[in-house]
């Protein structure tokens, strides 16, 4: 009890330096946990999102571009492939499901993607989970100019069943490029927390035959989502060989997770730089604890001498200083969690807007345990230097003048 009273009183007596150093620890801890959590969650989410498919078939080009375009609805399509290519892959005995996608238009910045009803009826965006339309809506009729809007896009655009809109040409919104066709919103999808939520879905033919598009490409598709039959593990290798090694017209991006993992490998240095910055901030914050307590030792010498005169052991004084330093870190980490939630919530909002990928600021990550523990331990270590100074305080010299 006495030890805690000593620590509490000291923290109160040095409230300003306690607050400043605790805040620097809070920044370090919040930053460290944020970097770690965002890295882990985004990596897991981006490599895990595949809309239930194993591969993407598209025009010859970058696999990453193909996946980003067809799965994440980012980037431009690397090009079109002919309907016959879609038919070929659909009929491949190793393929359970092939769904064509066509892109090229938007509505106020949100992509229109043309697809077949199979995408909604047979896809599982997560094990056992199918896309569903919210009550009061229905799926589009593949023969009509109808649209089903992803939940996020619907919220942002204010679209609801019964609304009509004119698409705009291209993937980037430009008011001058409005198409003349009118589309009727017939449903809004239930949230899936996948990039699908950011898309306006229309029948495949809608994109293919939109006014202003090249009539010669009216049967082309932008990409084909491919789900391999269960148990045909070797099929992916065979199709990889067939399209990527032996062929030279098309690209078969398989498996989707590995393509995304390669992206993270390429930008891994960025994570490491952020982590390094966090470690440096943590070190500076820890050093600030050392400096603030050490600098206060002169004014504390008399107090320490009085405590010793009352019978306090040297080790009690040493422990109180070390624990005080650790307590500053612990206080800092409490604020650090607030900073963490603020940063990750901000990042999550931006990420959701830009990619449709959702990360959860409240999802538990081991970093939430080891980062506070490490910073509190570092704080305690930082307290050792001033604690040793306190330990060596000469009682008689600091108690009262020798007469």
């Amino acid at each position: 009890m006495t030890l805690w009273l000593l620590i509490y009183k000291s923290l109160r007596q040095h409230a300003l330096s306690t607050s400043v150093t605790a805040f620097s620890i809070a920044l370090a801890g919040g930053l460290l946990m944020s970097v770690w959590s965002v890295k882990e969650q985004s990596q897991a989410t981006f490599t895990g999102v595949n809309a239930g498919y194993d591969a993407v078939l598209g025009a010859r080009g970058s696999k990453l571009q193909l996946v980003l375009n067809a799965i994440f609805h980012l980037e431009a399509s690397p090009g079109n492939l002919a309907w016959s290519d879609f038919e070929d892959v659909r009929k491949n005995p190793n393929v359970e499901l092939a769904v064509p996608l066509a892109v090229g238009d938007n509505f106020r910045g949100y992509r229109l993607v043309g697809t077949a009803l199979d995408f909604f009826e047979r896809s599982e965006y997560a094990p056992g989970k199918h896309f569903a339309v919210k009550p009061g809506g229905r799926m589009f009729d593949a023969t009509l100019r109808e649209a089903v809007v992803g939940s996020f896009a619907a919220r942002k655009l204010g679209l609801k069943p019964g609304d009509e809109f004119h698409p705009f040409h291209g993937l980037i919104f430009d008011e001058k490029n409005q198409h003349s066709e009118t589309y009727l919103v017939v449903g809004v999808l239930e949230p899936s927390n996948t990039p699908t939520d950011r898309v306006i879905w229309i029948p495949l033919a809608g994109i293919q035959r939109m006014s202003g598009h090249d009539p010669k490409a009216a049967t082309d598709v932008s990409a084909v989502l491919v789900k391999l039959r269960a148990g045909s593990a070797i099929a992916g290798f065979q199709m990889d060989m067939m399209y990527n090694k032996q062929g030279n017209r098309l690209t078969f991006a398989w498996p989707i997770g590995r393509v995304m993992a390669e992206l993270f490998d390429k930008i891994g240095w960025f994570d490491r730089v952020l982590a390094l910055i966090s470690y440096l901030v943590a070190l500076v914050a820890t050093a600030s604890i050392l400096a603030s307590i050490y600098n206060s030792m002169n004014e504390r010498r008399r107090e320490i001498a009085i405590l010793r005169a009352l019978g306090a052991h040297r080790t009690t004084i040493l422990s109180s200083i070390v624990l005080e330093a650790a307590a500053i870190s612990a206080l800092g980490m409490l604020v650090g969690f607030v900073i963490y939630f603020a940063i990750v919530s901000g990042v999550a909002a931006v990420m959701r807007t830009q990619t449709g990928v959702v990360i959860d600021p409240f999802k538990f990550k081991p970093v939430m345990l080891w980062a506070p523990a490490a910073l509190i331990a570092l704080g305690g270590l930082a307290g050792i230097v001033p604690a040793l100074k306190a330990y060596r305080t000469d009682v008689a010299e600091n108690l009262t003048p020798i007469s």
Partner: protein, 227 residues
């Protein structure tokens, strides 16, 4: 049997010019239980050093300090801390209250390293010294006389057998000095603690029947007080 027995006690300090300065050199000094005695000496005579040696704050170069049957000179620092926390109460000229702690907390700290904190006993002590209405006041909110009263309460908090008072009235005006001294003496008597007071103030010393010249016992002389 004396509560405090000092024999052949020596303590020297190294001066800035490197020479050794013998500050304490006592042949024999004894103080009986529950008695009150005063040592008279001028500033710089070594009185405070002597009290620090008796309290175990300083370790003697040679000699013996026997307190309540325990030989202090042979104990390590931690053991001397324990003796100080359980057997000795200390009253300083400058009160030495902890400024960030309330009156009650200052008295509780006087117990913490010995018998352990007891809020009821701490309140009772502060009531005894007339500060029952100032429990949650900080030292800066008290007069100097009141601060010394808190120091007296703290010195008695661990139910000591010996109270050491180092010029306890040196920072007080005449009225407060007289009242404080009376309080210290009464409180020690009530708690069954012996009192060893050092001072150069003749008015203070006049209150004691046993007054020893510190200079004379600090030159190897023998003194037994409280007999």
């Amino acid at each position: 049997m004396p509560l405090l027995e000092v024999a052949n006690l020596k303590k020297a300090f190294i001066t800035p010019d490197g020479s050794e300065h013998l500050v304490v050199n006592i042949g024999r000094f004894a103080l009986l239980e529950k008695t009150q005695a005063a040592l008279q000496g001028e500033s710089g005579s070594g009185k405070t050093t002597f009290l620090h040696l008796v309290a175990g704050i300083l370790k003697p170069d040679s000699g013996s300090i026997r307190l309540a049957g325990e030989e202090l000179a042979g104990l390590n620092e931690a053991a001397r801390d324990r003796v100080r926390a359980t057997t000795i109460g200390y009253i300083f000229q400058t009160f030495n209250l902890l400024q960030g702690y309330t009156c009650l907390e200052n008295v509780l700290l006087g117990m913490s390293f010995g018998p352990g904190p007891n809020r009821a006993a701490a309140r009772e002590l502060l009531k005894r010294v007339g500060l029952e209405g100032r429990l949650d006041h900080y030292p800066r909110q008290l007069s100097t006389g009141q601060q010394q009263r808190v120091a007296v309460a703290r010195a008695l908090a661990n139910r000591p057998k010996l109270v050491l008072a180092d010029e306890p009235t040196g920072n007080l005006d005449h009225r407060n000095a007289r009242e404080s001294l009376a309080l210290i003496r009464e409180a020690c008597q009530e708690h069954g603690a012996a009192l060893l007071l050092v001072s150069h103030d003749r008015e203070v010393l006049a209150q004691f029947s046993d007054v020893q010249q510190f200079d004379s016992i600090n030159q190897g002389a023998t003194a037994e007080v409280g007999t």
